[in-house]
Symmetry: C2
Subunit: 348 residues, 2 copies
């Protein structure tokens, strides 16, 4: 028998956060691609666009006018997926037809008044302001008695369903703990109860020892391509020490996080010299008022691109029905991301 | 308090096959869309395309020539995600870096020698031939000692990562039971052990009583928009009686399945009068040699489109990080699909 080589042979890897496996096919990286390609749009944008409903002073679809804000600006989503009105919860719901009313609040966060910027092009201080708004939102929304989970995220780029290039993210705050969070929590908890330590703290230590998947490191955080990454250039920013949620960051911690976000997203932009699309979001303790010693703050980045600015990885048939699958190995992707500069290609 | 109305108020629904919840936001259906749109390509294709690597008699990328086949034709995928060679399984793998070598076979199934057809446009007999090839493939691959699961699926349309319009599907057969299958199996098993009946048989009975989500019904199968459907027009073909896998279908059962596939995919094409993209695939008992009284044959259809031929549902930020979310309700989608004719718009 040939002896197994993880750079050459198909294998499965285990994701302890979700208790799931993924299929890795390193030998498949150089198959030819004749399928759909994405448009490479690299227009340069104005600092203020009169047709943008997120720019300061402009009117939104529902008729409201944005204030002449500077920096970060938060408002309630005009077309939210949740409603904050309380509804009578006594619902016919049983057996195969089980449902429950869900209450919540959707907000939009403009990261900057400048229409033409994105996180990697913003100053570290301006990103730190975003982090502070995330803190305040998590605190404010989380303190409402009917909000038990606050999901902070960003969809960046048309490819990720984002309809407006103005730099912005979202918050969906709700009564229930969403499926993926509750699965993650279960696995963090099992580990914590068994070992008395944080799964992610122990994981980061092992990754720092191994070295090969670490992209960036500073005093408080690492950015790593997880051993079990699904998307070609998926990464995770993790705090080195167990921190349950964003409220526990010190002044220095916030500076560290902002600089880590800037450097990681700059590397992303530099990869194909485009504004790199992704969905990113924070996983942290729910706001359900219960103790959560198992939780450990981390931020996932799920970018869709595979080979170049035009060819993305399709998570389709096999992946939707059976199991996530990837071609290039996490170690290859980490090697590429590691070697890229933290100076943005546009500023060169 | 307003009383809860599932046609108007956000709610979560429970999926018993995956033991997961999804978020339904009926009030969000008519938000304006300014984001990415898909190309609507409706060229008419020739019956034989000399540049197509799936057409009879043509040469594939690896230099092999397809035979002058008629009807269905199966071959090993030239760029498979799996390899059938045995590798030495003693691998360094532990703790956070857990992996296992994976062995398997990838095949491509051309549904027809005619480049211009798709399943809804094929004759019922020709679709029955496809069903019989699925049977033989499941049997042949499943009988190999190192194959414990056979995933039969189709990616249709560029939007679903399909690079060639020639009608074809795939089979990925492998040693392990993939994550989503093993989760489904666990839930089917729990139900079977508790109730002594099949979860899906009982579910179909309830859906037939309720009526509103059933799209099609014949002697042996129903096509239903599951109560817990994630994709806007997601459906599932389920056998009315518990049948563990495709080998147990009688002659009449195969005819029923073929006609159900034809009618359902015809309705899909009629929805926006385009060749409707989707990923579809069969869930059935693994081929691991163990008894599987809990398994119940079903076929999932996951189509990406939402409003029209150009606007798809983006499963991005919130959905990737927290929980699947949908806008129109499964009942609305079922109503639309139900009302569509089973005569293909092109044949009118
Ligand atoms: O094998 P294909 O059709 O080239 O590839 C397509 O289907 C596969 C199985 O769902 C996916 O892994 C690929 O991302 C997709 O592009
Ligand atoms: O709210 P948006 O940005 O318009 O919508 C986008 O993000 C949402 C949250 O991930 C998704 O549900 C939508 O499908 C997507 O288009």
């Amino acid at each position: 028998n040939t002896s197994f080589n993880q750079k050459q042979h198909p294998h499965r890897r285990y994701n302890p956060l979700l208790d799931e496996w993924i299929l890795v096919s390193p030998q498949r990286a150089n198959r030819p691609w004749q399928g759909q390609t994405e448009e490479k749009t690299e227009e340069s944008l104005p600092a203020h666009d009169e047709n943008c409903y997120l720019c300061p002073g402009n009117v939104r679809v529902n008729g409201e006018r944005n204030p002449e804000y500077k920096g970060v600006y938060v408002f309630n989503n005009d077309f939210g997926s949740l409603m904050k009105e309380e509804v009578d919860a006594s619902v016919e719901s049983s057996g195969f037809f089980t449902l429950q009313p869900e209450r919540g609040i959707n907000r939009v966060i403009c990261f900057s008044d400048n229409h033409s910027l994105t996180l990697p092009e913003m100053e570290p201080d301006a990103i730190k302001n975003v982090v502070e708004v995330w803190q305040r939102q998590y605190e404010e929304l989380g303190s409402l008695d009917y909000i038990n989970h606050v999901q902070i995220f960003e969809n960046k780029g048309q490819m990720m369903g984002c309809s407006n290039p103005h730099p912005h993210g979202q918050i969906w705050a709700q009564s229930s703990i969403p499926s993926i969070i509750s699965k993650t929590q279960e696995n963090l908890k099992k580990y914590f109860e068994k070992n008395g330590t944080s799964l992610l703290e122990d994981y980061v230590k092992k990754e720092l020892e191994a070295g090969e998947r670490i992209i960036l490191e500073n005093e408080d955080f690492v950015a790593v391509v997880p051993f079990w990454a699904v998307w070609p250039y998926e990464t995770m920013i993790v705090s080195k020490r167990k921190i349950e949620n964003i409220l526990h960051f010190s002044e220095a911690g916030k500076v560290s996080l902002a600089s880590m976000i800037k450097d990681l997203t700059t590397k992303y932009d530099n990869l194909f010299e485009i504004s790199f699309p992704y969905s990113a979001g924070i996983h942290q303790s729910p706001t359900d008022g219960k103790p959560h010693p198992e939780w450990h703050f981390h931020m996932h980045f799920y970018p869709p691109l595979l080979r170049n600015a035009e060819v993305k990885k399709f998570m389709v048939g096999y992946e939707m029905l059976a199991e996530p699958q990837r071609d290039i190995t996490p170690e290859q992707s980490a090697g590429v991301l590691k070697s890229l500069p933290v100076v943005h290609y546009k500023s060169k």
